[in-house]
Amino acid sequence: MTTTVDRATRAGADPAPRRSRLTLHELMMAPALLLLAVLSIIPLVTLIAMSFSRVRLLGGVRLEWVGLDNWSRALTDADLWHGWALTLVYFVITLAIEMVLGIAIAAVLSRLARGRGPLLVLVLLPMFVAPAIVGLLGRYLTDSTFGLYAWVLQGVGIHHDILGNPHSALAAVVLMDVWEWTPLIALISLAGMTSVNPSILEAAALDGAGSWRTLWHIVLPSIMNVLTVALLIRSMDLVRYFDIITVTTNGGPADATKIMPLRLYESSFRFFDLGYAAVIGLMMLVLTIVIARIFVRMLSGKGQNA
């Protein structure tokens, strides 16, 4: 162990700043790092350069320096901030529903002594459908001309179009994502629950703990690491949620479902305003990193406590 005195002594003996050297290991890692640079760093540098430029396409890509124009435009764009607020609302609601439902389904499945396998397969089925197909299914089921759900609602006297109303449209796209991805949470949670030590559960039962108290005070704390991983995976997906909304509402009505990935797509591939799109892309990158850092920190905190 190195003591404080040792460090102080060495600092006194070698006042010159130390320069770290590349070791053999690091040199051997260089090819992989170079590949990483080609795949990640060059696009990132290009993206940053684009965010300070006006990008011309015709006759070859050219960047014209415009300073902070794109950034100041983004920071003062009320629609963009509305998009961020909507993204946050969408993110929190969807994640909360998926986590609660997923854990509930896992809890029910974990208590089944027979038939768990076939039931699990049924529960997991939506996960294997491509998101664009989920969007198409949702669009057809809610279509006010021939949609099954619309027909059911009309039967109980509700005649408004599900995807044509701002509130119901947002609810519909949230539910489509919930339908598709809750099974993933259920699967991860179920894997965690099956690994809980049975003797602890038996002890809890002997002490008279009911199902709810066992779940809340024993099972959930035991699988918190697993749940954090599930949260991390779904969060990363939700930040770039795109397919279902594009197919169903395309961001409407009244921008009620236009979350950030759609705005990014619109700026880049509909308006070809690539400088501005780069700003939005970088903002999303920062958000993704922040979310990932929060969950990784939570995870490592739990790991140390365990």
Binding site: D14, R21, A37, G60, H160, N250, D273
Partner: protein, 497 residues
């Protein structure tokens, strides 16, 4: 690690590369590679057209060449793709056809032009999303028409319907022709003739006017007819339906009313629609006529089928065919599908008039040749564009069992078999709309969106504000003012392709 080990490590021979130096070099390398990466996306000069050998058949000159045609998934392209053999037999040229949804097509074309390699020789050039923003990347077709030993257009450029040639083929006033009219969808009044016939007397008596659809009806009368059908007709749940989804379709549907009420997007709107402009001036949507039009449109959608707020043009067409609505403004090329679903029950008329005129939005498109296409591929591309827009091919498309559009050549409409098809029973059901669209294409009736390079973004601003109005989040006046403000900002930023 002990102090001793640490000391030993610090006295190792100094490596050639320090970590900091490596990072510095890495950063510089990434920057240089990024610059090289962007520079690599540059364009090169296209090869010139090969010289024709004396006595060569101009149509066989490029036999063995393969070209790529990228198109929106429209009826004419479906018909051409299903019957390419005549072209291959005539020229020996092979054509790969890519069918895409319009937004995907625009992306591919823009990226192809950025690459400068002309992966797509022939391009479906939507006037507002491809022609206006990327006209500098297209070939002036006058340089190929009958020149350098290439075959001229049969019956010449004059055979194309004049408003269509200007709207779909030109950008600016320099006389250049960038695209040849290829399809001509135009919005007209589509209605259930059986319902109008059955209830004609009651409707006339109750409403106090002749309800027969046509350009003599006003939009206010259209609304009254729709409301009357809502209340008195059992065959359909609603009188009218609209394509009022937050989508390009909402702008198209609203524009008919806007122009009818005397509103417009910019000064000299017709000229901006026909010739196009990069600097169209200040947006006019704040004016009273536009606000009046928005107020009327808001009221109309309120009595329309509730599905209207979620329908685009396909949705409202399906609703008409499914018996959900009795009438709607929609693209005339739905006629063939309408006739299949409800034979003999749907008729067509020009859209109603407002205080100013009857306006029928034109959505036609031309096909163009990429400016980066060169050599034999350029010649082969001309042969294809020439053939695909020829009267014979247009007639074949009209007869096609897989759809087919409506002709853009005047001479085709003069053919006896085409004239005969304008009445039922018709072998060419799209021709049932002939009377209505012939009126709609006249200069007093046609509705032309601004052909400006930044229209895509202006369009989005407009239909978003309209969608907010329809959702009850803002008044018609606020919708028009906000749309005008946004459009002015977009236009002020300019276009920088």
């Amino acid at each position: 690690m002990t102090y001793l080990e640490d000391q030993q490590m610090t006295h190792r021979p100094k490596p050639v590369l320090t970590r900091r130096r490596a990072l510095q070099l890495g950063g510089l390398g990434a920057g240089a590679l990024a610059t090289g990466f962007l520079a690599g996306c540059g364009a090169s000069e296209p090869a010139p057209l090969p010289v024709a050998k004396p006595g060569t058949d101009p149509w066989r000159r490029f036999a063995g060449t393969t070209i790529n045609f990228i198109s929106e998934n429209t009826a004419p392209t479906a018909a051409i793709a299903a019957n390419l053999k005549p072209f291959t037999d005539l020229t020996g040229v092979r054509v790969n056809i890519g069918n895409l949804e319009l937004q995907a097509l625009v992306q591919r074309v823009a990226l192809d032009m950025a690459g400068g390699q002309a992966q797509y020789d022939v391009v479906y050039a939507d006037p507002y999303q491809v022609l206006a923003p990327y006209s500098k990347g297209l070939t002036d077709l006058r340089e190929l028409d009958g020149r350098s030993g290439l075959p001229p257009l049969e019956k010449g450029l004059g055979d194309f319907i004049p408003t269509q040639l200007r709207a779909a083929g030109t950008f600016g006033d320099d006389g250049k022709i960038f695209a040849l009219p290829y399809d001509a969808p135009t919005m007209i009044w589509q209605y259930r003739a059986d319902i109008f016939d059955r209830y004609f007397d009651r409707m006339s008596a109750d409403l106090g006017f002749d309800p027969t659809p046509g350009a003599d009806r006003t939009w206010e009368e259209y609304r009254k007819i729709a409301a009357w059908i809502n209340d008195h007709v059992d065959e359909v749940p609603y009188g009218t339906g609209h394509q009022a989804k937050q989508h390009d379709s909402l702008q198209c549907d609203f524009s008919n009313v806007l122009w009818a009420y005397g509103g417009d997007y910019f000064e000299n709107g017709t000229e901006v629609g026909l010739s196009g402009s990069v600097h169209p001036g200040k947006c006019l949507l704040r004016e009273d006529a536009a606000i009046e039009a928005a107020t009327f449109y808001d009221g109309l959608v309120r009595i329309a089928h509730p599905g209207s707020r979620g329908w685009d043009w396909d949705g409202v067409a399906a609703a008409l065919r499914a018996g959900q609505i009795a009438m709607t403004p929609n693209w005339h090329e739905n006629a063939a599908s309408n006739e299949q679903a409800l034979p003999g029950k749907i008729d067509y008329a020009p859209l109603p008039r407002g205080p100013h005129r009857s306006a029928n939005i034109y959505g036609g498109t031309g096909i163009a040749i990429s400016g980066s296409s060169g050599g034999a591929r350029l010649g082969a591309a001309w042969l294809f564009v020439n053939w695909a827009t020829s009267p014979d091919t247009q007639l074949a498309n009209l007869k096609s069992s897989v759809g087919g559009g409506t002709p853009t050549r005047s001479s085709v409409y003069e053919l006896p078999e085409v004239k005969q098809a304008e009445q039922r029973p018709s072998k060419l059901p799209n021709m049932l709309t002939a009377d209505a669209v012939t009126t709609a294409w006249k200069s007093d009736y046609i509705g032309l969106r601004p052909k400006i390079p930044m229209w895509n973004e202006c369009d989005t601003a407009l239909f978003t504000e309209l969608s907010r109005m329809l959702a009850g989040q803002q008044s018609p006046k606020e919708a028009m003012t906000n749309a005008a403000d946004r459009i002015d900002d977009i236009v002020a930023r300019g276009w920088f392709a």
